[in-house]
């Protein structure tokens, strides 16, 4: 018997000669003749160009979300102009980390969604808000993972719900979803979440935090990530969506090419390890 994993259980060639697929008019003859690969069909096994963390937080009357502009090829900083925050509709931001080609695919389907839902046959009023966008993305992500062909991303959807309360929810390549007042993906879930939770210990506490406080912690988090996440960059984008309580209108602020400020590198000379031979 052949013990090769791809031919397991078949008669071994050494003993019986090459298997003749034409025996009994086997239907898979053509397939075997054309496709000489030793592997069965394969989908994405790993991301190629990647984006690192997205970090986000609610505050009293809005949300803030940030992501840097780096696209890494392994440990190489291959691109530094990747925009990973996508605006959907007038009051929703989708932040994406993970595979950049999958990010671009998601960007495309979100554009299509916007055209379909907000332009075609729209009589006004029926606009996509953050919970709708999140539900849609979670269906896409879960469908892809169920086909064993996931979109290799972690996604944060930020905006407002139908009651004009801040909305922040996560979905990833497995179709897992959860909501929280502070969410970070990738390395950020280790480095930024402690800082964010320091500001907002429990989900309900976001109402005690104002925009300046949230923004400061996001800036601090981006700095810490730039210090310690070797796939991160110095330049990042951040978006603030806030409800103006006087006018009742939702304000949208999208800032690009923001730099990590107040960098102090004195601690760096003391860093040891990371495979270095110096001690």
């Amino acid at each position: 018997m052949n013990h090769d994993p791809y031919y397991w259980g078949r008669p071994s060639d050494e003993v019986y000669g090459q298997y003749n697929y034409n025996i009994a008019n086997a239907k898979n003859v053509e397939q075997h003749n054309q496709n000489n690969s030793n592997f069965p069909k394969m989908n994405t096994q790993q991301p190629i160009i990647t984006g690192t963390s997205v970090i986000s937080s609610k505050f009293k009357n809005g949300i803030i979300i940030a992501a840097d502009n780096v696209g890494s090829y392994g440990s190489l900083m291959r691109f530094n102009n990747i925009e990973r925050l996508i605006k959907v509709g007038s009051q929703t931001i989708v932040g994406i980390s993970g595979d950049i080609s999958d990010l671009q695919y998601i960007q495309r389907i979100l554009d299509e969604l916007e055209i379909q839902q907000e332009v075609y046959d729209n009589d006004g009023g029926d606009f996509l808000i953050a919970p709708n966008v999140h539900e849609y993305l979670s269906r896409v992500m879960y469908n892809r993972r169920s086909n064993m062909n996931p979109l290799w991303n972690s996604i944060i959807v930020a905006g407002f719900d139908s009651e004009k309360k801040p909305f922040l929810r996560y979905v990833d390549l497995l179709g897992v979803t959860y909501h929280a007042s502070t969410i970070a993906t990738g390395f950020g879930s280790h480095l930024a979440i402690p800082l964010l939770r320091n500001l907002i210990p429990e989900n309900k506490d976001y109402i005690n935090v104002n925009e300046e406080q949230a923004k400061k912690v996001i800036e601090d988090s981006m700095r810490v990530l730039f210090y310690r996440d070797a796939r991160s960059g110095e330049v990042y984008s951040y978006a603030v969506i806030r409800l103006n309580e006087e006018t009742g209108k939702i304000e949208f602020e999208f800032n690009k090419k923001t730099k990590v400020e107040d960098q102090k590198w004195r601690f760096a000379k003391d860093i040891r390890g990371y495979g270095s031979t110096q001690h």
């Binding site: 009589d123 009023g125 996509l128 849609y136 269906r139 139908s162």
Partner: protein
Amino acid sequence: MFRNNYDNDTVTYSPTGRLFQVEYALEAIKQGSAAVGLTSKNHVVLVALKRNAEELGSYQKKIIKIDSHMGVALAGLAPDARVLSNYLKKKAMENKLIFDKQIQTYKAVLSIADKAQENTQGFGSRPYGVGLLIAGYDETGSHLFEFQPSGSVLEYFGAAIGARSQAARTYLERNLEIIQQETEVEKLIVHGLNALRDTLSQDVELTFKNTTVAVVGKDQEFITYDDEDVQQWLDKLDSVSNARNREEETEENTEENTHETNNEDNQDHPTNEDRMETDE
């Protein structure tokens, strides 16, 4: 035998630019019993007259719930309406599943309009033989649409379709301003039943068996009242037969008994015209 050479299919225009098969489909709506819809700022009401094929048979279903915020009333071929309402139900569920959101009435209506339009442009197909009144309440408020087999949809404050529906439209037109200002659902339903009452033929009255009522609106999920549940609304009416008949009745009552027997004869033998319209 044929009215003309241009009504065999929907791919051929008549020289005057008409599509006769589509026009015949619109006629099919008028064969069905009446359905009336009316809106106020926060509510939409549908009322309809149900027929029973024979004395021992059940009454037809005239109002179909689509979702918790939307429903339709039909006039014409009931099987076609079932197909269309199942499609609407599917669309409504899809929208909930994919977007976690109830489908907007306008979009739901356009989805069946597109479906119906396709049937007016193919050789082997027949246009739907049913008209629908679609009532919905969504984030853009209360809406009432009329759907036609031609694929056209129009929004109305008040609309009526089916047999003798002109009488109901006349009532709605005359009372439009009062109806629009109405804040209480109860009164809106009474206006609906008044309009429906005007469509009745001579020998028919509104009863809890042949009347169906549905409401949807702000903080009010789509609800249908049938059979015993309708009686509460009929009790609010001053009369369950239409005005024309009431005038005749009072005239006849003041006259001698011989006329009453005549009246009974009339009931046993409704005019040919009536019979055509009441048979489905």
